[in-house]
C-alpha cells in the first residue's frame, strides 16, 4: 500500500533518513515512534510526495508517488500548529473541505459523497457538533474533525502525524476506538506518528522506531518480524 524502497533523504548536507525500506500493508495499523527530530514526519512527507527522496523509490499502491494521481485513496492529517482557525469554520465545512481535490471547480458533492460525509461525522462522534465552529471544540474533538476530513473521500490509507498532541486521556480513548473501527471494520491502513510509544500501543500491529536515520521494528504483534528493517548504520546528524 505504502512502500519505501531504499529511500535516502537529507536537508541540504544534513542526512535524515538513510536507505529506509518498509512497507505498510492493507488494514494494518503501524505506529511510527521516536524522539522529536528523529525524522518521523520527514518519512511520512516522503511517503506522501511532499518531499523528494535523494535516492530510492516511494510507491503508493504500487505506483511511484511522483506519478500518483488518485489522492482520494489517501487521507492525511498533518501535525497541528495552530489549534483553531483565525476565521471560523464549522465542523461540517472542515470535513467537507477534504472533498475539494475530488470536486475541483464548481462541482457540488453528489449523493454518495454527502452520505460519506454524514458517515464520517457519525463515525467520529461529531454529528451533533457539525454546525459548531471548530475553534470552539476541545483538542480531541478538533482532532477527530481533522481525521473525519481525511476520511471523507473513503481512503484506503490514512496517515496521522501526532494525532494525540494536546488531547487528554479520555479523548485519546475515543480516538483510539474510532481508529480501531477504521482498521478492523473498514479495512483502512493507518500510519500513525507519535513521539509517545504508548499512545497507540495496544492498537498497533507494528511499532516502528525512527532512530538515527533508520527505521527499526520494536514490536510486531500481528505482522511478524522484529528487528531492524534498514541497515543499522548510525548517522552523525539528524533532523525532522
Amino acid at each position: 500500500m505504502l512502500e519505501f524502497d531504499q529511500v535516502t533523504f537529507g536537508y541540504g548536507r544534513v542526512p535524515v533518513l538513510r536507505e529506509v525500506s518498509l512497507t505498510i500493508h492493507e488494514a494494518e495499523f503501524v505506529a511510527l515512534v521516536g524522539p522529536n527530530g528523529a525524522g518521523k514526519t520527514t518519512l511520512i512527507r516522503l511517503g506522501l510526495g511532499l518531499l523528494e527522496p535523494a535516492h530510492g523509490t516511494v510507491r503508493l499502491f504500487g505506483t511511484p508517488v511522483r506519478g500518483w494521481r488518485d489522492w482520494g485513496r489517501v487521507g492525511y492529517v498533518p501535525q497541528r500548529t495552530s489549534p483553531d482557525p483565525v476565521v471560523p469554520m464549522s465542523v461540517e465545512e472542515v470535513v467537507r473541505s477534504g472533498l475539494a481535490g475530488r470536486l475541483g471547480l464548481l462541482r457540488r458533492p453528489d449523493e454518495d459523497q454527502r452520505r460519506r460525509l454524514a458517515h464520517v461525522l457519525e463515525l467520529m462522534g461529531l454529528l451533533p457538533l457539525r454546525k459548531e465552529s471548530i475553534g470552539r471544540l476541545s483538542g480531541g474533538q478538533q482532532q477527530r474533525a481533522l481525521i473525519a476530513r481525511a476520511l471523507v473521500t473513503g481512503p484506503a490509507l490514512l496517515v496521522l502525524d501526532e494525532p494525540t498532541t494536546g488531547v487528554d486521556a479520555a479523548a485519546r480513548a475515543v480516538l483510539t476506538q474510532a481508529l480501531e473501527h477504521l482498521v478492523r471494520r473498514e479495512r483502512v491502513a493507518v500510519a500513525c506518528i507519535s513521539h509517545d510509544p504508548s499512545a497507540f500501543g495496544s492498537l498497533a500491529d507494528r511499532v516502528l522506531e525512527v532512530r538515527a536515520g533508520q527505521v527499526v521494528e520494536v514490536a510486531g504483534a500481528a505482522a511478524g518480524s522484529s528487528g531492524p528493517v534498514t541497515p543499522a548504520e548510525p548517522l552523525r546528524e539528524e533532523r525532522s
Binding site: L48, G49, L50, R69, W71, G72, V74, G75, Y76, V77, P78, P85, V86, V87, P88, M89, S90, E92, E93, V94, R96, S97, G98, L99, A100, G101, R102, L103, G104, L105, L106, K131, E132, S133, R136, L146, R149, A150, T153, V159
Partner: protein, 272 residues
C-alpha cells in the same frame, strides 16, 4: 437624500460599495492564511505601476494592473525560492513605494494626484472608471465562486489540501492575483494604501460573531458594503476624505462586533 442628487456621489457610492463588498470575499482567504498584509504590499507595487503610467503617459489603472500581476508572480516565486513570507513581502513593499515615488517625481506629477491614488478620490470618478471597478470586481467574484472549495481547503491546511489532490501552487498564485485585482479595483475609490484594509477589517468584524466560514464571508461582504455606504455619506456631510472615512467606519464595525461578542460571552457566563 441630498447626497444622491449629485452625479459624483452616485458614482462614488456605486464604485465604493462594489469594491468594499467584494474585497472581503478575497480577504477572508488572505486572513486565513495569515497574510493580512499582502494587499498592502501589492498596493505599494500598484503605486509603482501608477508612477510608471504617469511617466509613459498610459492609463494609471493599466499601469497598476500590469505591475501588480508581475508582483503577484514574483511573490509566489520568491516564497518558493525560500524567501519567507515577511521578507518577500518587504522587498515588494519597499521596492514598490520607492519606484512609484521615483517615477512620479520624474514626471512632475502633482501631490494631489499622488494623494488621490494613495488615499482614494472617489468623488472624482468618471463613469468609465466606475465601469472598470465593476468589471474587475465581477472578475474577482467569478474566481472566488468557482474556486471557493479548493481555496477553503488551501487556506485551512495547505499540506493536507495538497495531499487530497488540490493544486495548491496554482491556487496560491490565483489568490495573489485576485488580491492584485481587488487592489487595482479599489485604487481610485478607496486608495492604494487603504483598500487592503477593506479586505481585512470586515472579515475581522464578521469573524467575531459567525460560526461558519460561509456566514463569515457573507457577513464580511455586507459589513464591507455598509462601511462604504456609511463612510461615504459621513465623508460627504462632514467634508472628510472618503477613503479614510470608509476605513474608519469599518474599524468602528469591528469594535462594535468585538463588543457584542464580549457582551454575549458575559451573558453566557463565560470568561472576561
Amino acid at each position: 437624500m441630498t447626497a444622491l442628487g449629485f452625479a459624483f456621489m452616485r458614482k462614488a457610492l456605486i464604485a465604493s460599495t462594489v469594491v468594499c463588498a467584494v474585497a472581503p470575499l478575497v480577504g477572508i482567504f488572505v486572513v486565513q492564511r495569515r497574510q493580512s498584509l499582502i494587499g498592502d504590499g501589492i498596493g505599494h507595487v500598484a503605486f509603482a505601476g501608477v508612477g510608471l503610467a504617469f511617466l509613459v503617459g498610459a492609463d494609471p489603472l493599466l499601469g497598476a494592473l500590469a505591475l501588480t500581476v508581475v508582483a503577484a508572480v514574483a511573490l509566489q516565486r520568491m516564497r518558493r525560492g525560500g524567501l519567507g513570507g515577511d521578507l518577500s513581502l518587504a522587498l515588494v513593499f519597499y521596492g514598490g513605494i520607492a519606484s512609484g515615488f521615483l517615477f512620479a517625481s520624474r514626471t512632475g506629477s502633482g501631490a494631489n494626484s499622488l494623494l488621490g491614488v494613495l488615499f482614494g478620490s472617489s468623488l472624482n470618478l468618471s463613469w468609465g472608471q466606475v465601469g472598470a471597478v465593476i468589471a474587475l470586481s465581477a472578475a474577482v467574484l467569478a474566481v472566488v465562486v468557482a474556486a471557493y472549495r479548493p481555496l477553503l481547503a488551501l487556506c485551512f491546511d495547505e499540506a493536507a489540501a495538497r495531499v487530497s489532490g488540490v493544486p495548491t501552487e496554482g491556487l496560491a498564485l490565483t489568490l495573489t492575483l485576485v488580491v492584485a485585482l481587488v487592489v487595482v479595483g479599489g485604487m481610485h475609490a478607496i486608495g492604494l494604501l487603504l483598500v487592503s484594509a477593506m479586505m481585512v477589517l470586515p472579515v475581522a468584524a464578521a469573524a467575531q460573531l459567525a460560526r461558519s466560514h460561509r456566514t463569515t464571508m457573507l457577513a464580511a461582504s455586507l459589513i464591507g458594503a455598509a462601511s462604504a455606504l456609511v463612510g461615504l455619506l459621513a465623508a460627504f456631510y462632514a467634508d472628510h476624505s472618503p477613503g479614510a472615512s470608509i476605513v474608519l467606519t469599518a474599524i468602528g464595525g469591528y469594535l462594535l462586533a468585538a463588543g457584542a461578542k464580549r457582551v454575549g460571552r458575559r451573558r453566557r457566563g463565560g470568561q472576561r
